[in-house]
């Protein structure tokens, strides 16, 4: 028998007892938890009934002095001990990793791959619920972030094996999320207790602002400023280059002469009639307004949406705020560069007399 296992079996009880004692304290002072117990433990509905029954039979045993009732009480207690040892053995040696997509937008579900592996050499694990550990108070302090993550369920994880599942994560706000790890929970074997073990697997996730479609009125307004992407449609007249054909190219522009010469498909590249450039300027000034936070977030979303809109329309887009500057470039990488800035942008106090706003400046 695994001695460590037996030794560690009563720890969750101590943990829950300690938690109960210190709960009052924690809520009042809202203090950081300095010491985190390695296991969490809570009763299920059945567990509560089981304990209630145990108490009633225990009282009956004391009252009647009937030793066979004592024997039944001892049996029920032994089931609790067995349950503790089994759940401990099922939780031990479980490691969980997640792989998140590169680009995650606020409010959009992101699919993550969770891989759980059982490092035990002999014992399988049963009935595992894998949940992303929600950040504790200490991480909520600076930038309050919220996210939801689907929990995964694994019925059996044999010894030395790994299982991968796809789970959906939704980050509700932009920003930097510090994911701590997982809580692997189980009700195994009898469903009386829900025991959890924290598995460390920390990762920083940068979540871009939510993208919104640009409203028609807004795009019409932009057109008045001469920065409407509609003016960019079409290609210039002058030939700029002849290069290898890629499936992404329009087949109408295949340069047949060169194709014949080179014995492979060649396509024409035209000079753009006009290099269109815009700069998104975001005055992220901190203002003493009652609904400032919402307005600020709205502005961030607008800046992001505009960047996306212009990049997709082929513009070279630059970004300027009171705290950051991204020079003009085109392409999706540029979009992510700007979105990264917008993901972490915070309002700053400014001595200049400017109001909170997003502007598009055509160049």
């Amino acid at each position: 028998m695994n001695f460590r296992l037996t030794l560690a079996a009563p720890l969750p009880w101590l943990a829950s007892a300690a938690n109960l004692i210190s709960k009052k304290n924690r809520i009042r002072k809202n203090k950081i938890k300095y010491f985190v117990f390695p296991r969490t433990l809570s009763f299920t509905k059945e567990g509560r009934r089981f304990i209630a029954m145990l108490f009633i039979i225990g009282i009956a045993a004391i009252n009647t002095g009937n030793n066979l009732l004592y024997l039944v009480v001892a049996m029920m207690l032994s089931l609790i001990i067995i349950s503790g040892i089994l759940s401990e053995s099922t939780l031990r040696g479980i490691e969980v990793y997640r792989t998140l997509p590169r680009h995650i937008f606020a409010g959009m579900p992101a699919t993550a791959k969770l891989t759980a592996s059982n490092g035990k050499s002999f014992l399988p694990s049963f009935s595992l619920i894998i949940e992303e550990t929600l950040p504790s108070l200490r991480f909520l302090k600076g930038s309050a972030r919220e996210f939801t993550a689907e929990s995964a369920y694994i019925l059996k994880l044999p010894a030395h094996a790994s299982l991968a599942t796809i789970q959906s994560y939704t980050f509700h706000k932009r920003g930097l999320y510090k994911l701590q790890g997982f809580t692997v929970k189980t009700r195994f074997p009898f469903g009386f207790f829900l025991k959890g073990r924290r598995v460390k697997s920390s990762i920083d996730v940068l979540v871009y602002p939510r993208l919104k479609p640009i409203k028609k009125a807004r795009s019409a307004g932009l057109a008045l400023h001469g920065v409407s992407p509609s003016l960019l449609r079409g290609q210039g007249a002058h030939l700029y280059n002849i290069r290898d054909y890629t499936p992404a190219d329009d087949s109408r522009f295949i340069h047949w002469k060169s194709t014949a010469k080179a014995a492979k498909l060649m396509t024409k590249e035209f000079e753009q009639e006009k290099k269109k450039k815009v700069k998104i300027v975001f005055y992220n000034a901190l203002l003493p307004l009652p609904d400032f936070h919402d307005r600020f977030e709205g502005m961030v979303g607008e800046a992001a949406s505009l960047t996306d809109y212009y990049i997709r329309s082929g513009f070279e887009v630059g970004f300027n705020s009171l705290t950051a500057e991204v020079p003009c470039k085109s392409g999706r990488e540029q979009l992510y560069r700007i979105l990264r800035e917008l993901a972490i942008i915070e309002p700053v106090t400014s001595n200049k007399d400017i109001s909170l706003s997003v502007k598009v400046i055509g160049q």
Binding site: N67, L69, L71, S78, I154, L155
Partner: protein, 719 residues
């Protein structure tokens, strides 16, 4: 497979969707649902078996219900389940409850009986309606209640086996039930649970756990604190009829029971006696019941009996007052024997003890004793009881012959004689004519009876005026009653006070449990005679007294072993008490102390000096540090990152480069090595290596793929 590619192979069983579907359809075997049904019925069976232990329910009922369970199981396996709506189920439950209440008020007034019947019928009805998880949960709870009902109304050893069976099936059923329920809750698609969950290992492990659980159960049982309050165990239905322990005993009453093998009591002795004493007989053991002083020709009676309540002394023993006659025996000649007696439910309130009892201890509120040395409960208990009796044994042969003295006044009451025993008187004088002391006379008469009469359990009838004349002058055969009565009368004729005593011979010695099994057939009667200057002394004129127990064929060793199990069960489980717990704790304490003393003694013998105070202090600190470290390491274990090995891709890179003659020297850091090679791919992989190895970075699939491509590139390149 490409060697590099094989390096990147990760052992995994990729499961899509909700992470569940991979394990289906992999193995063949019995379907999970079938397992589940079978195990649930096993639990129900264990519950029913528990109920069969209670005397309240007739075996016919249990057999009938068992048949219905089997029929139901058959139907269930065939998939023919009955659909009972929730309303109908509730109505049925209410009807059963009403019927049970009617049963309680009008038919059988035993609550246990009614409630067990109620539970059983409820369970049977539930078996016909097993659909949802809730139904199964209700079934398990009902089976558990049946176990509870059994625990409240039986004391049989079989309960232990039923409990073990219940633990085994219960652990199986609960585990599988829980897995099934969670699976159904969590899996999006309601598929049957994969079969390979339940491999033989699962069942073996569960069986092992059940044994482990039983061990924990028993250890907890002894440790759970008991209250010092005295409670009596519950009544059992089988009450053994006994003869010879009422206020009157008809002559010949004991004869019929001398063939009855029913166990009456089991007696453990402390200290263990030397083997010669383990047999009955003079100077041996006699479990004394009651004494009679008056014989009227057809029955013995107690006419001078005076009852008195005994006082409990500070040791919790109801001690017999010391003013009694036999107390004249010199102290040095006494040996105190402690007897732990487990008395079956018998029809008498007499408490037995070896001659002569000095006190009784047990869970009793009060105990009475009469002036003839017998102990009584206030009323017959009709239940199995355990008590401790303390007795002193005499060794009367030493110097009895020389004792001369007067008979005490109190003993003169034991000289009563019925009318019409002149011939008996003549015989007595003939036998004792040359004897002077009381002891010589008694011994002569005892010898005469033993020599000239034949032991039989079926004496003939004859033409004598009374049964004693029949025995002494005509048939000359009989059993203990004839012998003892004749002896008592003969002694009284010559002026020696006597009383007839009924009780038991020690019976059979069970060496497995070190106790006597005393049966009905060990019932015996003998005589106590008052020896002047000495006191009451036991005489047994029956010739076959010593052989009485051996007359029956010896009990087989298996039976003895099973009986010893029963004795232990009753002794240590059913009758386990606060005082037993205290004794256990004391013995553990004593053993620890003696072990420590032993160690200390050994250390002194080996010449190790007695540890100084500083050493002890240091020792305590070291132990404290070790304990703290162990605790902290267990608590911190989760936070500690696992030691990281060199990532597989870097090893692959080194392998590829080594083939090209670029071997990394041990003194080189990976970065230095990469700089020396001066290839962008190598530098890139080295950078990722640093991230993974020291930054705890986890590679994505895409990154792994990129590394693979870079490795292939490096392989192709000339360096």
């Amino acid at each position: 497979m490409n060697p590099v590619r094989s390096l990147l192979f990760i052992k995994k069983a990729s499961v899509q969707g909700s992470g569940l579907s991979s394990m289906q359809e992999t193995s063949n075997g019995v379907k999970f649902s079938l397992y589940f049904i079978l195990i649930s019925y096993l639990v129900a069976g264990a519950g029913l078996l528990a109920l069969s232990l209670t005397d309240a329910i007739s075996p016919l009922f249990i057999v009938g219900m068992g048949c219905i369970v089997f029929l139901n199981l058959f139907l269930n396996i065939k998939g023919r389940t009955f659909s009972i709506s929730k309303t109908l189920w509730n109505i049925v439950a209410v009807i059963i409850l009403a019927a049970s209440l009617a049963d309680y008020f009008f038919i059988s007034p035993s609550l246990i009986e009614v409630s067990t019947r109620f539970l059983t019928i409820l369970m049977i009805v539930k078996l016909f309606d097993l659909k949802t998880n809730r139904d199964y949960a209700v079934l398990y709870v009902l089976a558990f209640f049946q176990l509870l009902a059994a625990s409240a109304s039986t004391v049989s050893l079989s309960f232990l086996f039923v409990l073990a069976l219940y633990i085994l099936t219960g652990i199986w059923a609960l585990t599988i039930f829980n897995l099934k329920r969670e699976w159904e809750e969590k899996s999006a698609i309601h598929k049957e649970i994969p079969r390979n969950i339940l491999d033989p290992f699962f069942f073996l492990a569960t069986a092992g756990l059940a044994i482990f659980s039983l061990i924990i159960t028993l250890s907890l049982f002894f440790v759970i604190p008991r209250m010092a309050v005295g409670f009596l165990p519950k009544t059992t239905a089988d009450i053994i009829k006994v003869s010879g322990f009422s206020e009157k005993v008809d002559f010949g009453e004991l004869g019929p029971i001398k063939l009855d093998p029913t166990i009456v009591m089991r007696v453990g002795l402390q200290p263990p006696l030397p083997p010669p004493l383990l047999k009955g007989g003079l100077g041996g053991l006699y479990f004394r019941g009651v004494a009679f002083d008056t014989y009227n020709g057809t029955q013995w009676q107690q006419t001078i009996k005076k009852l008195a309540f005994l006082q409990k002394n500070q040791d919790g023993v109801f001690a017999y007052p010391t003013r009694y006659d036999w107390e004249q025996t010199a102290l040095s000649e006494r040996q105190v024997i402690k007897q732990v007696i487990l008395l079956e439910p018998i029809e008498t309130n007499v408490l037995f003890a070896t001659s002569f009892g000095t006190g009784i201890a047990g869970n009793f509120r009060n105990i009475t004793a009469d002036n003839m040395g017998s102990f009584y409960l206030p009323a017959p208990l009709y239940s199995r009881i355990e008590y401790t009796a303390y007795s002193v044994m005499q060794s009367p042969l030493k110097g009895l012959q020389r004792q001369q003295g007067s008979i005490k006044n109190s003993a003169l009451q034991y000289l009563q004689l019925p009318i019409g025993y002149e011939e008996v008187a003549l015989l007595a004088r003939d036998i004792t004519i040359s004897k002077k002391t009381a002891f010589e006379k008694a011994a002569a008469i005892e010898e005469y009876l033993k020599k000239n009469y034949r032991y039989t359990l079926t004496p003939r009838k004859s033409a004598g005026k009374n049964p004693i004349e029949d025995f002494l002058f005509y048939t000359k055969e009989g059993y203990c009653e004839q012998y003892a009565t004749a002896f008592a009368i003969l002694l009284r004729v010559v002026g020696i006070p006597t009383r007839l005593v009924t009780g038991f011979l020690p019976g059979e010695w069970n060496s497995f449990g070190n106790y006597f099994i005393v049966r009905q057939k060990d019932a015996h009667s003998w005589v106590e005679a008052f020896m002047p200057g000495f006191g009451w002394t036991t005489f047994d004129p029956t010739p076959s007294a010593e052989a009485a127990g051996a007359a029956a064929p010896a009990t087989s060793r298996v039976t003895l072993y099973i009986d010893s199990m029963r004795w232990r069960w009753n002794r240590y489980i059913v009758n386990y008490s606060f005082s037993d717990q205290a004794t256990l704790a004391r013995s553990v304490e004593d053993k620890t102390r003696s072990l420590l003393l032993n160690l200390k003694w050994q250390s002194i013998r080996k010449g190790i000096a007695k540890p100084k105070k500083e050493t002890i202090f240091l020792g305590v600190i070291v132990v404290a540090i070790i304990l703290t470290t162990v605790t902290v390491s267990i608590l911190r274990q989760e936070a500690k990152p696992k030691s990281v090995k060199t990532p597989f891709f870097y090893k692959a890179l080194l392998k590829v480069l080594a083939k090209k003659g670029k071997i990394k020297q041990t003194q080189e850091t990976p970065l230095e090595f990469a700089n020396a090679i001066a290839l962008p791919e190598v530098e890139a992989i080295t950078k990722i290596y640093y991230d993974v190895r020291f930054g705890g970075y986890k590679l994505t699939d895409r990154e792994q793929h990129n590394i693979l491509i870079q490795l292939i590139d490096i392989k192709k390149r000339q360096i």
